[in-house]
């Protein structure tokens, strides 16, 4: 089964490329040659890509601020400043002809491959988010996806902005280096330096908003979990699939069921596939899936190894909730007996997907590797050891159960809506003879009166409530275990603009863009991991694969001493030289870049200045 691309995949690639960019030497890499025009063109592309993000985010935050959340002010201001800064930078960097168009394709081109790659991933990442857009053509709005409200939510917009801040900071350092290498004319260097300063302003603006209303870890996780909008491939479990594979299959099939149900819900007023058979099978299969999850959770709660004892009570609560959901769904199947639909016989895709989910969850819950519903009652469940051999397996099982419960909730919500709409449009019918004597209808069937549909709607209400309770119980376990399915809870809160969406731990871990390229950030204990990227000396040691803590601490101390020296010098030099150009050389640009990154409240002497509008100057200089 192929995993779908997520925004996190691209964000990780961007970060990786920008880290290499940040740590690159001033000399061009092998196979590349110094080419100022190419460097500027790459920088221009990156700024354009970021400006596109800023425009999207600005719109989302403005709308959310006006409609729902007045506490978004800091982020709205940040988004506005980011957009303005990037627009100014775009204006300063005109779209110059790309070097590829002027040199032979087989000749090595200049510029920086990592920046180009990062820009490409930025564009692809934005395209991924836009696959969830609701498209409006000819007055008809096509629904996006279940992720559309999440993509358009304030928490996700703020998380994107925070990522943008990290990218801007790293690209700013690169800009300073370009301006210092001397591979381009003086006027061009000044423009690039000004763009670097603008990018630093972008980073600061976002940092300020982050201080006022921090983006939560869950928001970043949610952003990274957003997948491309596509229907997962249908597949059936193979005999003897591992628990991990089965969990992936359950999650994928659950998503297919949610999509089929949503689609059917939209088509409820006219679809020929909206039949009693489909809705009854869907309900029956949801009952089976809930039963399978209840069996799995009961096993986990009662027959576990020592490390999971602390989860027993919460898992037992979730098992009880799943059992109540099972009973409620069973009532739904029976509630369909006295009512039928105006179309009959067809089995819709939702019914088929629900059956597939029942099969997948059964394979997960039962020990028989070839389990299927038609194998009868003589099967034993899996042992807890098969679910919870290690933490990863337990997380996988919890992920699957959480996704199933969430899916049951959404199916209950969608099917209840289908029933309500069908009732309103006269698509639910009853035999005329079942109506009270007062009705005089000369046909075999009549539209179901409210007294007939009420029990059915009530049974769906009950299924919705119990499934939601099971989902909530699973959410607690997923949070305790730090399972991936935590994003379900965050996504629901974000999409509903729930004030609780901003509860939870703010981002405390070292941002990915600041972490060491080989995940060695924990070794660099000598500096504050929240705030500071490694300095030039420490970075060189990391690149040399030095893992010795004393050496790294000494390097960090040298970097700090250098920072302090520069700060002292800048303070004393300010009256004498009010406008120092500290980005004149690659060495000083890197030191200053690090100093700025580690000291948010750095002296104003080191702050970049507003760029002059010098498009004409740039062109003349280029």
């Amino acid at each position: 089964m192929t995993r779908r691309a997520t925004f996190g995949d691209f964000a990780t690639s961007i970060t990786r490329h920008l880290q290499r960019l940040q740590w690159a030497t001033a000399l061009p890499a092998a196979g590349e040659r110094a080419n100022g025009a190419a460097d500027v063109a790459d920088l221009s592309d990156a700024v354009h890509a970021m400006a596109d993000y800023a425009e999207d985010i600005s719109g989302v935050l403005d709308a959310e601020y006006l409609a729902r959340d007045r506490e978004l002010g800091a982020w709205v201001r940040a988004a506005t400043r980011v957009r303005q800064s990037l627009e100014t930078a775009e204006g300063a960097l005109p779209a110059a002809p790309r070097p590829e168009k002027t040199v032979g394709a087989n000749r090595p081109r200049g510029g920086n491959g990592d920046l180009r790659a990062a820009t490409r991933w930025m564009t692809v990442g934005r395209d991924l988010l836009h696959t969830h857009d609701a498209i409006q053509t000819g007055g008809v709005t096509a629904d996006g996806s279940e992720w559309t409200p999440v993509v358009c939510s304030a928490p996700v917009a703020c998380a994107i902005l925070r990522e943008l801040g990290g990218w801007a900071r790293q690209i700013a350092g690169h800009a300073y280096r370009i301006s210092a290498t001397g591979s381009c004319p003086a006027a061009q260097r000044r423009t690039v330096s000004a763009v670097g300063k603008l990018l630093s302003q972008v980073s600061w603006a976002i940092g300020e908003a982050q201080e006022r209303r921090p983006v939560r870890q869950g928001h970043l996780r949610l952003l990274h979990a957003i997948p491309v909008n596509a229907v997962p491939d249908p597949c059936l479990p193979a005999s003897g699939d591992s628990v991990v594979n089965l969990s992936v299959g359950v999650i994928s099939t659950a998503e297919r069921l949610r999509m089929a149900t949503r689609r059917a819900s939209v088509e409820a007023p006219w679809s020929r596939q909206l039949t009693r058979e489909t809705l009854r099978q869907t309900a029956g299969c949801c009952a089976i899936s809930a039963s399978n999850m209840q069996m799995m959770l009961t096993t986990l709660a009662t027959d576990h190894d020592e490390p999971w004892t602390r989860f027993s009570a919460t898992i037992a609560v979730a098992a009880d909730a799943a059992d109540r959901a099972r009973a409620a769904w069973l009532t739904v199947t029976e509630s369909w007996d006295p009512i039928t639909t105006d179309t009959r016989g067809a089995m819709g895709s939702a019914g088929a997907e629900a059956a597939a989910l029942a099969l997948w969850t059964g394979r997960l819950a039962y020990a028989n590797p070839d389990w299927a519903p038609d194998l009868g009652p003589l099967h034993s469940p899996r042992s807890a050891g098969e679910f919870a051999g290690d933490t990863d397996q337990l997380r996988c099982a919890v992920d699957a159960a959480h996704h199933v419960c969430n899916t049951l909730t959404q199916v209950a919500e969608a099917d209840r809506e289908k029933v309500r709409v069908s009732s309103m449009t006269g698509r639910l019918i009853v035999p005329t003879r079942s109506l009270p004597d007062g009705y005089d209808i000369p046909y075999r069937f009549a539209p179901a009166p409210p007294s007939s549909t009420a029990p059915l709607l009530s049974s769906y209400d009950q299924a919705l409530q119990t499934s939601a309770e099971a989902t909530a119980a699973m959410a607690g376990i997923a949070a305790d275990l730090q399972a991936d399915s935590r994003v379900i809870t965050t996504a629901r809160a974000a999409a509903r603009a729930d004030p609780n969406a901003w509860a939870g731990a703010p981002i405390r871990e070292m941002p990915a863009d600041l972490a060491g390229s080989h995940g060695r950030s924990s070794q660099t204990a000598s500096r504050d991991p929240q705030l500071a990227p490694p300095g030039p000396v420490e970075r060189i040691l990391i690149e040399l694969d030095v893992a010795s803590k004393p050496d790294l601490e000494q390097a960090a101390a040298i970097d700090r001493a250098a920072d302090q020296l520069i700060l002292r010098a800048a303070t004393s030099a300010r009256p004498v030289q009010p406008d120092p150009d500290l980005g004149r050389s690659a060495g000083s640009a890197e030191l200053v870049g690090h100093l700025i990154a580690t000291n948010g409240s750095v002296l104003s002497a080191l702050r970049p200045h507003q760029p002059p509008a010098r498009k004409a100057e740039f062109e003349a200089g280029g």
């Binding site: 058979e277 009854r280 038609d374 009652p377 003589l378």
Partner: protein
């Protein structure tokens, strides 16, 4: 020929269901299956089949929660029985509501007894599927033929769902 098949089915049911619940079921279903065997007109066959589906549905729902491992097969079989009942004309009728409240007091059956019921239901639905398939071939009316075929498919589905069970 259908009569011979159904007589054999009744014998299988009687043999499989030695418990009290199974015996009750055999008594009810065997009587209906006899009617089904005797019916010559398509309308009569469909009417009898509707009653058999209804009886199967009642039995399946009564015992679907007795044994957790049998739950999936019983629920899906109950859905198929309900669909079969609708296909054979149950959709026109005002059906008696099958209330689970009536059977709440009964203790749940053990695994072996549930397996016995599954065997009996499989045998009954096998005979039902055969009779309905034969009826579909002889039906002059296109609509009747479609009804018989659809109902036969549902009966075959019940047989498949219950057929994996063998008495312990």
């Amino acid at each position: 020929m259908p009569g011979t098949v159904l007589a054999a089915v009744i014998l299988v049911c009687a043999f499989a269901c030695s418990g009290s619940e199974g015996s009750r079921f055999v008594t009810v279903v065997s009587r209906v299956l006899e009617h089904l065997a005797a019916a010559t007109e398509v309308v009569d066959v469909l009417d009898s089949a509707c009653t058999v589906f209804e009886d199967l549905l009642t039995l399946l729902r009564r015992h679907q929660e007795d044994e957790v491992c049998a739950f999936p097969a019983f629920v899906l079989a109950a859905c198929a029985a309900a669909n079969g009942r609708d296909a054979t004309g149950g959709v026109w009728k005002q059906l008696p509501e099958v209330s689970m409240q009536d059977v709440d007091d009964e203790p749940p059956l053990n695994c072996a007894a549930v397996a016995e019921i599954a065997v009996a239901v499989a045998a009954a639905s096998d005979g039902l599927a055969a009779r309905l398939s034969a009826c579909a071939l002889s039906a002059a009316n296109e609509e009747d033929r479609a009804c018989c075929e659809r109902a036969a498919a549902e009966a075959a589905r019940i047989r498949t769902l219950m057929g994996g069970v063998s008495p312990p």
